[in-house]
Each structure stands twice: as C-alpha cells, then as structure tokens.
C-alpha cells in the first residue's frame, strides 16, 4: 500500500466518521464541531486530488466562514431546555433502510461502468496551475458569463439575508 493510499484511507475514515457523528449528535454545538472536522477531511481529499486551489478555498470558505456562521446561529437559537425529548423521530428506522437501499443502488449502478479502474494521467505542473482556472473563468468564450451571474447571485443572497435577519427596532413589542 503506497503512502497516498494510506493517507486517502485515513482521510476518508475521518470524513465518514465525523459526518456520522455530526448527523447523530444530540447537542447542536457538537454536531457543528464534528461538521468542521468533516470539512477539514474533505480539504485533505482535495489536496490528494492535486487541486490545491480547491483545498485552500474549502478551508477558507467552508471552515472559515460557513462553519463559523453555523456556530453563531447555533448560539443565537439556543434555548434553556435544549436536548429535551427524543433525538430521533418516528421515521429513523425507515430512513435508515431507504438510505441503505440508495447507497447500494449507487454502488451497483457503478459496477458495469468500464472506466471504473482508471488511474490519474500524469500532469505537468503548469496544467494544474491556478492561473489556468483564472484564465478560463475570465475568457469571454470561456466561463465569464456563469462567473458573473454567480457573483450577482451571491450579492443578492447576502443582501437578502442581511435584510431578513435584521432586527427591526420599531416592530418589537
């Protein structure tokens, strides 16, 4: 087993176990912290795939912004009587069965695909450079239009969320 395979197995184990702990924790703050660990594991997986830009952006955007936002929201929506009552509702067992069926279906539908065992093609360093991505995103016959549309979407979402979450002083009783 080579070093890269070992690192992949460790990272995959970390990701799957933290994701599982994240969806089954009773306390919300524990779920959020396990989620952060899962995101860091996914960043390691991106680094293994040699897309270093996405590994760094994953830590920067997901861990540094989205996870902190989720932790802030957990703190702002806490109640004194947290963790009261059963954690899982009636649908848990049924969901487990359905999710297992979906996973088995995904696995079996992949088995007949011929390119399953493919390995990576060796790439030169400047093909994996982040400048290539930058050129593609800003070229007019490249992906400049989706890039601009996505930026406007993000701007609209942020302005909307600030407006929705703003505490209007005159309407409070």
């Amino acid at each position: 087993m080579t070093g890269m395979q070992l690192i992949f197995l460790i990272a995959a184990a970390v990701v799957v176990s933290s994701a599982f702990m994240s969806v089954t924790s009773r306390r919300m703050i524990h779920a959020a912290l396990w989620f952060v660990l899962a995101l860091l594991g996914v960043a390691v997986i991106y680094a293994l795939l040699e897309v270093s830009f996405f590994a760094v952006v994953q830590v920067l955007v997901y861990v540094g912004a989205i996870a902190i936002l989720i932790i802030f929201a957990t703190m702002l929506t806490r109640r004194a009587l947290e963790d009261h009552g059963k954690q899982f509702n009636r649908a848990t067992l049924m969901t487990l069965v359905i999710v297992s069926v979906i996973f088995a279906g995904l696995v079996f539908s992949l088995r007949s695909w011929p390119q399953l065992q493919s390995m990576t093609a060796p790439l030169s360093a400047d093909q994996l450079d982040v400048g290539v991505l930058g050129l593609a995103l800003t070229a007019p016959d490249g992906f400049a239009l989706p890039f601009e549309v996505t930026s406007i979407l993000l701007l609209a979402a942020l302005i909307g969320s600030i407006y929705v979450a703003y505490e209007r002083k005159e309407k409070k009783k």
């Binding site: 109640r79 399953l116 093609a121």
Partner: protein, 104 residues
C-alpha cells in the same frame, strides 16, 4: 495509485449520510449542516471525475462547476441561517416540525 472508484464510493457514502441527516434531524440548523454535507459529497464527485478523466484535455468544466457549487452553498447557508434566526425570533423554536402555522 488510487483508483477512481475509491473517491466515488466516498462521495456516495457521504451523500447518503447527509441524506439521512436531512430526513431525520429535528433541529433546523442540523438539517442545514446535513445539506452542506451533501453538497460537499457532490464536490468530491465532480473533482474526482475531472481529475481522472478530463484533466489532460484542458477542459475545465468540472472545476468551474465546483466553484459555482461553492458559491451557491455559501449563499444558501447565509440565506437559510438568516431565515432560521428570523423564525426563531417569531416562534421561539428551531424544531422544524413546530414551525407549522401554514399547515393545512
């Protein structure tokens, strides 16, 4: 060294765990965390396919799709959490079942 299907299996497993979380979680913030896990699984899938099949052709559609998913996930997390905080202020609860004033 690492065959492609290892990444695909990991992505499928992460997606199913996220799906399980979305359906069974009571807390609205917990549902949002599970949705983010599913988006991460889709990202792993896209990047693995790009790297193994398209990286030597100069076709960058996989990477651009992943960037758009990053941006959309961030926007959706912001909007979702703003709505959860706003609903908490009105109804003092974050349990998804209890926000049911529009229930027929």
């Amino acid at each position: 060294m690492i065959p492609l299907y290892w990444y695909l299996l990991l992505a499928a497993l992460l997606f199913c765990i996220g799906l399980f979380g979305v359906i069974t979680r009571k807390n609205a913030v917990g549902i949002l965390i599970s949705i983010e896990l599913m988006l991460n699984a889709a990202n792993i899938n896209l990047l693995a396919f790009w790297r193994y099949l398209y990286s030597d052709t100069g076709d960058l559609r996989g990477q651009v799709f992943v960037i758009i998913i990053f941006v959309v996930a961030a926007a959706e997390a912001a909007v979702g959490l703003a709505m959860i905080i706003s609903a908490y202020r009105q109804k003092q609860t974050v349990v998804a079942n209890e926000i049911d004033s529009m229930k027929g």
